[in-house]
Amino acid sequence: MSILASATMMSCSEDSLDPTLAVNKSVETSINTEEDLQGILLGMYNRLTSTQYYGRDIIIYGDSRSDNAFSNGNSGRFVTVSTMAMTETDGQATGTWTQIYEVIASANIVIGAEVTGDETTINHIKGQAYAVRALAHFDALRLYGQQHVQSGGLSALGVPYVTEFKGENLLPARNTVGEVKALMEEDFATALSLMSASLNDPSKQYITTHAVNGLWSRVEIYFGDYQKALTAAAAVVNSNQFSIVPAGDFVASWSTDGAVNSIFELAVNNNDNLGINGLANIYRGNTYGDIQAYDAFANIFDAGDIRGSAEMIDVDGAGNLRNIGKYPSATFDDNISIIRYEEVVLNYAEALQNTGGNGLVFLNSVATNRNALPYATASQANIMLERRKELAFEGFRFDDLARSQMDIPFLDPNQAGPAYGSYNYAFPIPAVETNANSNMVQNFGYSN
């Protein structure tokens, strides 16, 4: 009895109430070294791979809101996206918004951290964070920004550009589209200034100086700022580090990690993958398989074009046209391409064409490497067509339609889409955001 009592008395101090931290560490005291910083950077990359972001959703957003593909509702997924019928509480709009800003938060921890170690290495790590911060804001902007709604443009509402982790202002207001563009350019420039080409990781699973330039060219193309796009794309093209995958290797390149055309891809492997919640299962899985290509999509390819072959697109057992070739592995472990050389080449062609140069050679270098007929001119329409063929199912088509100020042709096989400028060219700002942040303004056409 006395033993019980004294044991008890002893354990009743404040100390006896300290919980054990077995699998976590405190933020305040745990980021001290270059190694810690690298760990946070990996956390940032890991967040990019989530289903709500590059693991699946943002790629599907680009194609299911276009004339490439639609959601057949097989598992009830992406129906509101595909039919552009979102509301302010839409799970997709909420999930991706949240995920993008989590990536930004991780990037900001890296950028703001003061750690000990080799300065060049630390700068290379921080440079990657700057680049990803720009990419994430760009992704938020193209989904939620008002640049293509009503009159839109650079003065329209963009998204908040967040540059601090747990900073002073926890209720940021929306920057304008133009402000976001300028801040992204600043971040890309900072990334290049901090990073060293000699430290570029050869696996292509990390941001390199080439990836920074490639992504920068993508952003400028989106805004039609062709001079800047030209500079960025030229840096990649002239680096001679990458080549267009020839037609014979094209199909295999999709199941090859770090292929010759890859500039930046997200690491996925057999122990770390999204399984049924990834891209393969939504494009053709027997459980989900919601994203189906329009029958007419098969008709855009020349005879012999490898991209229109049955290895890339084919009809499944139920007679539905499917993306077969991209993200092909039944084991769900393909790396996810974020930027590849062919896109940069097409960016370069478009930039050249729009800055008084001639992009035809570059345009045709893609087409001919797919066994397609070469184009006679590098007209904007031809560049757009080639982008559609080359980048199908990779999340580009909606943005290409939007930046070309085109209407959305279809919502599903039975419905025409909205005209350019319609409210649903932007996702709604999620209600969880407008409710928590009184500085946040909802997008046109949606309610709070």
Binding site: S16, F165, A436
Partner: protein, 1020 residues
């Protein structure tokens, strides 16, 4: 002072008297109970002396006394009797049961009090109200019995956790579940299922109803503040059966029953109906009023449109009906219970031992629940001053769970409502069909070939030593161990279902939860004249630690192997450790003057590891007072009042029911990228995080008239929860969704009434009616403000928390019906009335009235007995709340979900087809966009929740004692009991069971069941 002197004088005199009359004679005798059975342990004292003894095992006693002295016989539960010693040396006595005394001891957890000594609101259920309830978890016995307590099962799957709410919902982010106390010690009461996607398994399912002596529900501050930081949601105190002194008696009970859905549930469309509706949809969408094709031509048009494949195959097969709704239901699921217990004791101690077995099949194929448990409760007087008791309960519960907590393809209830009826469960040869024209799985196949098993072994050992230091000053030390070993095993076959893509999957987890509590207390009772004091000081420390180990693998080489050993790819393992602790100091004072005026006070200082250093300890207290008016002299002439007391209490209790480590800003290390460990922030952190508090006042009156022919109580309570532990939403741009803070305030108030009317009371015939009724008014009175001073509401797609509204008030677009001209769905532009629109986004979101918490709830019943027959009926009702039909977006879609991709429910047969038609179901559409939108969240699927349910109907018969004696038995009982036999629902659109979880959403889980159970009870 005067009375104290009297006491000393008396004692002195007694001494003198004892000396004077030391020479006497020896009296002996036998004491029996009202049934004539010997009663051991009866205290026999010579009044006015220190001389006394107890009856032995056979009820016999001997004592020395003188003629003219008085012997007093007393025993718990029996009326105290006195006999004057006369000329005879033998005094035999048959004692009379004191029914009132039995009921009047209220178990409060740390203490027990006479009913008249209590100042707060408590309700105690007797064993007879608990033991025979044919439901698996013991807390299910509470429904309808306690005013102000609402309970809803998380699922009708046996063993599932219950949502219990006492006096409403006071917390936004912290737990709203009450604290459970078993035999004086706080215990774990949560979910021990290995996966939250599967059926839940309540820790309380480890307790057998048959072993429970009483359950007390503590509602107000004077009762709950003793539990300090964890008392604010109310406390449920469970007391297990203890041995009774006397010859060892055995009790065997056995029951057998069958079950069905308590209400019919929605009816899925048949394939033939669905086909015709699809033609309607095609015609409505593409027929262009008959310009393109007529309704009659729609069947010919259909094959030219996309998505016809499954219909074509079905038509080719001869239009067979796949009746999934019936197929996934188990045919006549049974309930089986066996329990045997033994109880006995002598003057030195007593014991209660029991062994129980229970098996309940779920209403869905492949799921069941089985429990075996043993109890050994033992008390022993080690010496005159030292008492030892121990309570042991060890059980193993095994539940075959299934994926029921959401719309999983493997959920049989998903099959019931979603599976296209054009798909067949069986092949023509009778084997299960795994070649379906849909992404949904054949859940019948999965029920036979997959495994999801929760296996919980729970051991509670609770021991105490009590030492009487001096007269009436007792020291008690208690140590309790509660160990929950929960094993979970999952296997998905490689032929069909979720395991197909991976060649079969397996996972296993072990959750070891070890909880220990130590209490040391001093209790002193004394009286100064008519001033009676009862003081307790108690110190308690509780520690809980959880070790978790998980493994998973994929790809089995052959069928028939189901363990991880045989997997060959994608291995995953994880393990982690968490702990929490509470340390408390408690003081209890109970005072009464002559039993008329009661005052009590409670103070508890408690620290919890869940909060920031420096803010861990909180102070909780209460004061209460009661006036037993009926005991006043001036009431003695008021004959019709048998009982009248006024009571009131006020106090502060707390709530610490939040996730561990919420106060810390932490980094997580559980992610990886490129095969390297990755680090990410896991919580915003709040270094100021501390208790949620709850100020609660309660006033009431207890009454009994005409010798308690009519009795009952009325109480009013007001419970203000403040410094809410609230996860305040953050702008997602911070990288976080929310931060735990102490801000906000919610008030719950209401009136609780209970009453009993004993219409007939006699030896052979009794008839009574009783009931309880409670109202609840809930309002959010304060919330967090953002940096701009604007209130941060918490809004989801269906609900909002905002000042001035009830918590989680329904908040969505207002449904305005169907446009008779064209069949379009309409919503109110302003959200509630007036102008309408067919554009969902043009309609505003607005409050649609009420929340999910019933504003009134009541239980009422009647008891009738005549000779050996008894009859009971108990009703339960709740209402004034609203229920949202979840998943209606699919099952009531007027687009492709219901007629082409999945299935719909039979209400869709009322869909609009003709201009001018008045209906609430819009025109069906064959495209995804417009069609599915009509079933987007709106008040269209928000129903009034009021219902009345015949909770219990039972008929019992006890053989007369002449017959049982002849059979060598003490008692034989038969009973037939029906549970949830009838249900009335106010809103006829609500086809799901109206008893939904506390959040107010219908679910695709097993609905509540109705059952018929036959039971027999033998005592010998």
């Amino acid at each position: 002072m005067k009375s104290k002197l009297t006491w000393i004088l008396t004692s002195f005199m007694v001494l003198c008297v004892s000396f004077s009359f030391a020479q006497g004679k020896t009296i002996s005798g036998n004491v029996t109970d009202q049934e004539g059975l010997p009663l051991p342990g009866v205290s026999v004292v010579v009044v006015g002396t220190t001389s006394g003894t107890q009856t032995d095992f056979d009820g016999n006693y001997t004592i020395d006394a003188n003629a003219g002295q008085v012997l007093r016989f007393s025993y718990i539960g029996q009326k105290t009797a006195e006999r004057t010693v006369g000329s005879t040396n033998v005094i035999n006595l048959q004692m009379e049961e004191d029914a009132q005394a039995l009921e009047e001891v209220i178990v409060l957890g740390y203490s027990t009090r006479g009913k008249n000594e209590i100042t707060g609101s408590t309700v105690q259920l007797k064993s007879s109200e608990i033991n025979d309830v044919p439901l698996v978890t013991v807390d299910q016995a509470l429904q309808g019995k306690v005013a102000g307590l609402t309970i809803a099962s998380s699922s009708g799957t046996p063993g599932s956790t219950q949502d219990i709410r006492i006096r409403g919902v006071g917390s936004i982010s912290a737990s709203n579940d009450p604290l459970f106390v078993i035999d004086g010690v706080p215990v774990i009461s949560g979910n021990f299922s290995g996966s939250t996607a599967f059926s839940s398994l309540s820790a309380l399912s480890a307790i057998n109803n048959q072993d429970v002596e009483s359950i007390t529900v503590l509602k107000d501050a004077s009762a709950t503040s003793a539990y300090g930081a964890r008392g604010s949601n109310g406390v449920v105190v469970i007391t297990t059966k203890k041995g009774k002194q006397g010859k060892t008696s055995f009790n065997y009970t056995s029951s057998y029953g069958v079950q069905d859905f308590a209400v019919d549930q929605p009816t899925p469309l048949t394939a033939a109906q669905r086909e015709q509706l699809y033609y309607d949809a095609l015609y409505n969408t593409f027929g262009d009023g008959g310009n393109n094709f007529t309704r009659a031509e729609a069947p010919a048009e259909a094959p030219t449109r996309g998505g016809w494949g499954a219909y074509a195959a079905w038509i080719d097969a001869g239009r067979p009906e796949g009746n999934w709704g019936e197929e996934v239901k188990r045919k006549n699921p049974t309930i089986v219970n066996h329990n045997i217990s033994a109880s006995g004791g002598d003057e030195k101690g007593s014991f209660y031992a029991s062994l129980g077995y229970s098996k309940t099949e779920a209403l869905v194929v492949g799921s069941d629940f089985e429990r075996i448990n043993g109890v050994f409760n033992f008390t022993r007087n080690l010496s005159d001053k030292l008492k030892f008791d121990t309570n042991m309960n060890v059980s193993n519960t095994r539940q075959n769970a299934f994926l029921e907590q959401s719309a999983f393809f493997a959920n049989p209830f998903l099959s019931r409502y979603f599976m296209p009826p054009t798909e067949q469960p069986y092949n023509e040869d009778g084997s299960l069909n795994t070649n379906l024209n849909t992404s949904l799985f054949n859940t019948l196949y999965l029920a036979e070939n997959d495994i999801a098993e929760n296996d919980l072994t729970r051991a509670i050992i609770n021991s105490s030593l009590e030492y009487e230091i001096i007269d009436r000053l007792k020291f008690k030390t208690r140590f309790s161990i509660d160990y929950n070993l929960s094993a979970y095993r999952r296997y998905e076959n490689r032929v069909h279902g979720g395991g197909l893509a991976d060649g079969g999957t397996a996972e296993s987890s072990i959750n070891r939860n070890f909880n220990w509590v130590t209490q040391n207390s001093l209790n002193y009772t004394f009286s100064v004249g008519q001033h009676n004091f009862d003081l307790t000081a108690l110190q308690e420390y509780q520690k809980n630690k959880t070790n978790y180990l998980y493994g998973a693998g994929e790809n089995f080489p052959v069928d028939g192997l189901t363990y991880l050993d045989n997997t060959s790819a994608n291995f995953a393992v994880s393990s982690n450790f968490t702990d929490w602790a509470n340390a408390s100091y408690l003081g209890l004072l109970n005072y009464n003057f002559a039993g008329k005026y009661i005052f009590d006070a409670t103070y508890r200082n408690e620290g919890s590891s869940r909060f920031a250093p420096g803010l861990r300890f909180g102070d909780f207290w209460s004061v209460g007072a009661a006036w037993n008016v009926s005991q006043e002299d001036f009431m003695s002439s008021v004959d019709f009042v048998s009982q009248l007391r006024l009571r009131g209490s006020y106090g502060v209790s707390g709530n610490s029911g939040i996730d561990i480590n919420a106060y810390q800003a932490l980094l997580g290390f559980s992610a990886d990228y490129d095969n390297q460990g990755a680090i990410f922030p896991t919580g915003f952190g709040n270094s100021l995080l501390t208790w949620e508090k709850n100020a609660n006042y309660d006033v009431g009156v207890d009454f009994g008239f005409f010798d308690d022919v009519v009795s009952g109580s009325v109480a009013y309570f007001n419970k203000r929860t403040y410094d809410l532990l609230q996860n305040v939403p953050l702008s997602r741009t911070t990288g976080f969704s929310e931060v735990a803070t102490n801000i906000g305030e919610i008030v719950n108030k209401g009136v609780e009434v209970d009453a009993t009317f004993n219409i007939i009371r006699s030896n052979d015939l009794n008839w009574s009616i009783s009931g309880n009724y409670a109202t609840l008014d809930n309002e959010v009175t304060k919330l967090a403000l953002d940096a701009n001073g604007e209130e941060i509401t918490i809004t989801t797609g269906t609900r909002r928390i905002e000042v001035g509204q009830p918590i989680n008030a329904w908040y969505m677009r207002g449904w305005a019906g169907v446009d008779p001209a064209n069949g379009d769905p309409l919503w109110y532009v302003n959200g509630t009335d007036g102008a309408t629109t067919n554009d969902y986004n043009a309609a505003e979101v607005a409050y649609q009235g009420e929340n999910a918490t019933p504003q009134y709830s009541a239980g009422f019943g009647t008891h009738f007995d005549f000779k050996g027959f008894s009859f009971d009926a108990d009703f339960y009702t709740a209402g004034g709340h609203k229920v949202y039909e979840d998943w209606s977006r699919y099952t009531k879609s007027n687009g492709t979900f219901s007629t082409r991709v999945f299935n719909g429910t039979s209400e869709l047969l009322n869909s609009w087809t003709t201009p001018g038609q008045i209906t609430d179901y819009p025109a069906l559409r064959a495209n995804a966009g417009d069609g599915n939108r009509a079933a987007f969240t709106s008040s269209r699927f928000l129903y009034e929740g009021d219902y009345v349910r015949l909770r219990n109907l039972s008929l019992g018969y006890s053989l007369p004692s002449s017959a049982t004696k002849a059979l060598g038995m003490d008692a034989i009982n038969f009973s037939v009991r029906g549970t949830n036999l009838l249900t009335w629902v106010k809103d006829d659109r609500l086809k799901y069971d109206p008893e939904v979880r506390a959040d107010g959403f219908t679910r695709l889980t097993t609905p509540p069941v109705k059952s018929f159970v036959f039971g027999v009870n033998l005592k010998f």
